[in-house]
Subunit: 338 residues, 2 copies
DNA sequence: TTTATTTATACAATCGATTGTATTTTTGAA
DNA sequence: TTCAAAAATACAATCGATTGTATAAATAAA
């Protein structure tokens, strides 16, 4: 039933050629004659040989594999980043392992430990919401393996970040609401131990300052920005009664808030104009369609992986961070004159 | 800078204990005294030892890894299946590799070949749209490794399938439209070499037959069911002018069709009632909200992986297929009396 | 033809962990 | 105390591919 796998030694035995020569032939080394190569390759194909990557990796101490660690793949943004990562990885001949931290620090630690055991060559990571301690990542780096951080910036010194200018994007989003005439703008923010949400909040705050609007701390809500959180915070907003604008740090919470507010008879954008963040596919479909910030997710994946792979290959390269361009997609949810 | 990784031989040398004993201690073998184990474990921790999985896997000829191969992770259904797979895998101590075929047969072949080289213990697969030849999968199986098919059924004999009753679900979806009074129901179907879409189409056909409605082949559209396809087919529908119902074999095409039809002034569900398939998150948000079939994606992932792992572990187990329960979620898009 | 030089292939060690067998140590019964 | 049985540990081969070095074969120069 279950046939045995062919090794270079089987080929070696059948042909009476040493296994070292077989190995070199299969790797197209110039230490083997073209004629011998042809014989070996033909026989390898005939026997259905497939290289044992485990053995090869063990010997060479290289797995030709990179890992992407992120909160969860079901988010459109992350799925799109992965697509970009895979494209570059495939071009450069790398395998990709995808790991979900589910925003749990414990899981993230386990994942990294597992990746060390599996000797991946490098890691791309968007850290979990709970991550404040970087020891597990430093441990990986201490073996000379590179890490590139994307999406959620890393505050560690000397590490490569690929992200957008969250502060700037946030500033523009808020300014857009202000220009539409909003005076009382609420903000749905994430946990403040996440640098990303700090930056977005700061963009919001500074836009208000620029327009000389007093900061009202009671209009700033901190949560995990889940669907449920969006509803909970929308309820609170209704209670305060004085909001005419909402800037949410993600689309998920913005969308569930819009749905709740609509169900309570509040008109969007007439009563409350809304801007989200991420440009999830749902943002274009919801009514009113959601004004939001589009991140170049695919490009981010490509940039992050090419940066990582270049670090893996020529360790000399300069560790450089990149800021990609985001854009404000203006739709109906912020069109007060609508 | 880059420190060397600790091996069992380092521990062996430091403690003056043979590496075989160290290995056994680390694996909690009962051939090592508790006292010795403690000494070894303590030292291992102290030196920051982490098992080299490559070496271990090479020796044991087991990777404790399963692979999930599917068209693309950005589809909510697949992302949810993966979540289920990972839950079970983690419980049973398996790693999960996620691979996207992007519905390309060539890519799928490459992926399988790569998985063979990487000696994964088993594969969960939803085959690509282009797959009609199963040689690559048979090759994997020929080494004694199990494959479980989910979502898209496999017509190979003697293989394990985990899916819903697509025929039945389709029948119910169509019947629902008929009961709402639809007489002229169009169907968006997928490529007919995919068993899944054949089954869905048959459910649609048989429901019409039951209600003694003549089949009009010009109302059946075959495509990849992409967003663009939805629009193209919606345009064709408008041209025929005689449709009062639409059953699409996925939500993606149903939703883009709804949007296009609305933009053309057609009232949903008044003029045309619509039912989709998959229960994508967007289905609940679009206006009108979309009546659709919900598949138990998470449960499907759990079932598929537990079935696969049980095959890996006790090769004796009966190869059994499973049909999971799906349900029709009735929303506004089919409510003619609305 | 003989020797020097290049080219092709064979030999053997290695990567790190596992595991069957052999040896030493410990325990317990006589 | 002595010896057999059991327990603990050491030895050595192995998984499959890679790679530095050594040897053999082929080519070129003298």
């Amino acid at each position: 039933m279950s046939q045995k796998k062919i090794t270079i030694h089987d080929i070696s035995r059948v042909l009476g050629i040493d296994s070292s020569t077989v190995s070199r032939a299969l790797n197209d080394s110039d230490r083997v004659t073209k004629k011998t190569k042809e014989i070996i390759l033909k026989k390898a194909k005939e026997l259905g040989y497939q290289r044992n990557t485990l053995a090869s990796n063990l010997r060479t101490n290289k797995t030709q594999t990179i890992a992407v660690v992120l909160p969860r793949i079901s988010r459109y943004f992350f799925a799109t980043v992965i697509a970009g990562v895979e494209q570059i990885a495939q071009e450069k001949g790398y395998n990709v392992i995808i790991c979900q931290s589910l925003d749990s620090f414990e899981r993230e630690k386990k994942i990294i430990s597992n990746l060390i055991s599996n000797r991946v060559d490098g890691i791309l990571i968007s850290i979990s919401m709970e991550t404040t301690d970087y020891e597990h990542l430093k441990n990986f780096q201490s073996f000379g393996n590179p890490i590139v951080f994307f999406d959620r910036p890393c505050t560690l010194e000397n590490c490569v970040n690929i992200n957008i200018d969250n502060y700037q994007a946030s500033f523009l989003a808020t300014e857009h609401l202000l220009q539409k005439g909003c005076q009382q703008i609420a903000h749905f923010s994430g946990k403040q131990n996440i640098e990303l949400y700090k930056q977005r909040k700061n963009g919001y705050l500074d836009a208000l300052k620029k327009y000389q609007i007093d900061i009202d701390e009671s209009l700033i809500f901190e949560s995990n920005l889940s669907e449920e959180d969006g509803i909970i915070m929308a309820k609170k907003i209704i209670e305060t009664k004085k909001i005419d604008g909402l800037y949410a740090a993600n689309d998920t919470s913005a969308i569930s808030a819009i749905q709740y507010l609509k169900s309570e008879g509040i008109k969007i954008p007439k009563d409350i104009a809304v801007v989200g963040f991420n440009n999830d596919p749902i943002a274009a479909v919801i009514e009113p369609s959601l004004t939001t910030i589009n991140q170049p997710a695919f490009q981010m994946g490509k940039k992050a992986s090419s940066q990582l792979i270049s670090q893996i290959e020529h360790k000399s390269t300069v560790n450089q961070s990149f800021v990609l361009i985001s854009e404000l997609i203006i739709r109906e949810s912020s069109n007060k004159s609508f």
